[in-house]
Amino acid sequence: MSAANQISASVRPVDVAVETRPLPRLLAGLTVVTILGVIAGLYMALVYAGTDIDQGDVQRLFYIHMPAFFGAFLAFGATVIGGIMYLRTRHEKWDVLAVSGVEIGMAFAIINLVTGSIWARPIWNTWWTWDPRLTSEAIMVLTYAAYMMLRNGIENPEQRRRFSAVYGILAFVTVIVTLVIIRIRPDTIHPAVIGASPQNAQGTFELQATPGVSAALGVNMLVWGLLLPVTLLWYRIRLENFALHVDALKARLLER
């Protein structure tokens, strides 16, 4: 039995147990900061920043729309890092990071799509159009939905983690395509935020406006592009670790 325990210890990652302890101080602090940040960001976006002369109040969506994409970018980036590190170390904590990244990233990508769609209704006069950037973002969301399908389709846990890591790395190509497509395809009507928009962009996001606009964008970038995804990722990782811990306890029980 002691030999068995020794093996279990060498096979079970030790830090799974670490993450199942009560809420770490840092995470508690981060949660408070994030909640305050979301409130501050909403205040900046909805009240502090001036109303756009051309577009009116609907432009305020932009303060969440663009930062949410960067939140998704960060989370999907975490999936790539998790995937690469998993393939190198075969340590399941990296797989936990990868799957958490996909779920959080999906949430942010959907926020990005929905806010964009609401904005487009009055500005482009349609909810959705098959513009290159919109199309590639839809592809991106579908790719990560396929990631979840693939994961659920594999029973062997080792194989599931390995294949998910490979797919998570490959899927990031669609994120990059979404990000760069307006630089290389001038026929999109989606405006560029940084640098000049394509000539036929309709409805601008440009920051020529008051300092209030850039301040509101800056705060929301910090909140939606960094604080919120990181905090949510951390919680999601904890949740996955709890689940793994329960599995491990079950396995140990069966071994007796």
Binding site: A3, A4, I7, S8, S10, V11, R12, R90, E92, N156, P157, E158, D247, A248, A251
Partner: protein, 244 residues
């Protein structure tokens, strides 16, 4: 630790699939010319061990050396001296026997003339010379398994690994396989065969190893064994009545 004649050595070998460790710090040393029968209950790790030795699977931790080469770092060198036959035939159904062997000869980079001569002798030896141009899917299970052995012998490997080669074979085909294995052993090939056939293990092999709980639970030269004493030892070591 290093026996001079050892061709296969594992040290503290661990292989886990997710939460389940299948091999737990397995130490095993196999000498050149041994004919080892590897027994364990189903899921007991004999297939896993063979796949590790063949370099098809990477250990979770621990060391494996084959012919002095370290796995997985020197996998290509190890592969060149290993031949494997499994319960799947590892052949292309829509190619003839000769075409199958030609393809694998190319993968092992055998010179063309040498390969053709070797294929000729092997086909004769496994009794398939007359049907060498027929597609493999028209073969009986026994013929396919014999061809599979020819494939494994193609590059004249030092070590032959057999993973339950008798699965699905009738009596005649099994007997033919017994002879081929004995012949290969006489030629000096080292053989490791995973099986659940206690009789074959006791009578054909030169050494019997039983895996239990992921480690070597029993290891004896078969000269000291009878089928009956092996069966008794097996149920004692594994807690199971038969090898099934």
């Amino acid at each position: 630790m290093t026996a001079p004649d050892a061709i296969i050595q594992t040290h503290a070998l661990v292989k886990a699939f997710g939460l389940q460790p299948v091999l737990r710090r397995l130490d095993l040393s196999i000498n050149r010319g041994d004919y080892v029968a590897l027994l364990s209950p189903n899921g007991g790790g004999k297939s896993t061990l063979l796949r590790l030795l063949a370099g098809l699977s990477k250990p979770t931790s621990g060391r494996i050396t084959v012919g002095g080469w370290e796995l997985p770092a020197e996998a290509a060198a190890v592969r060149a001296q290993i031949g494997m036959v499994s319960h799947k035939v590892l052949l292309y159904e829509n190619l003839s026997a000769r075409e199958n062997l030609r393809f694998f000869a190319r993968l092992y980079n055998l010179p063309r003339a040498e390969a053709e001569a070797r294929i000729e002798t092997l086909l004769k030896r496994v009794g398939l010379a007359r049907r060498q141009h027929d597609l493999v899917r028209t073969y009986s299970r026994g013929m396919q398994q014999r061809l599979s052995i020819a494939r494994a012998l193609l590059h004249d490997p030092h070590v032959l690994l057999f993973d339950e080669p008798y699965t699905g074979l009738d009596q005649d085909a099994s007997r033919a396989l017994d002879e081929l294995l004995a012949e290969a052993h006489d030629e000096g090939h080292t053989i490791v065969m995973a099986t659940h056939d206690l009789n074959r293990a006791a009578t054909l092999a030169s050494r019997v190893v039983i895996l239990a709980r992921g480690a070597v639970g029993f290891d004896r030269p078969s000269a000291e064994l009878t089928p009956a004493s092996l069966a008794a030892a097996y149920s004692e070591v594994t807690g199971m009545v038969t090898a099934r």
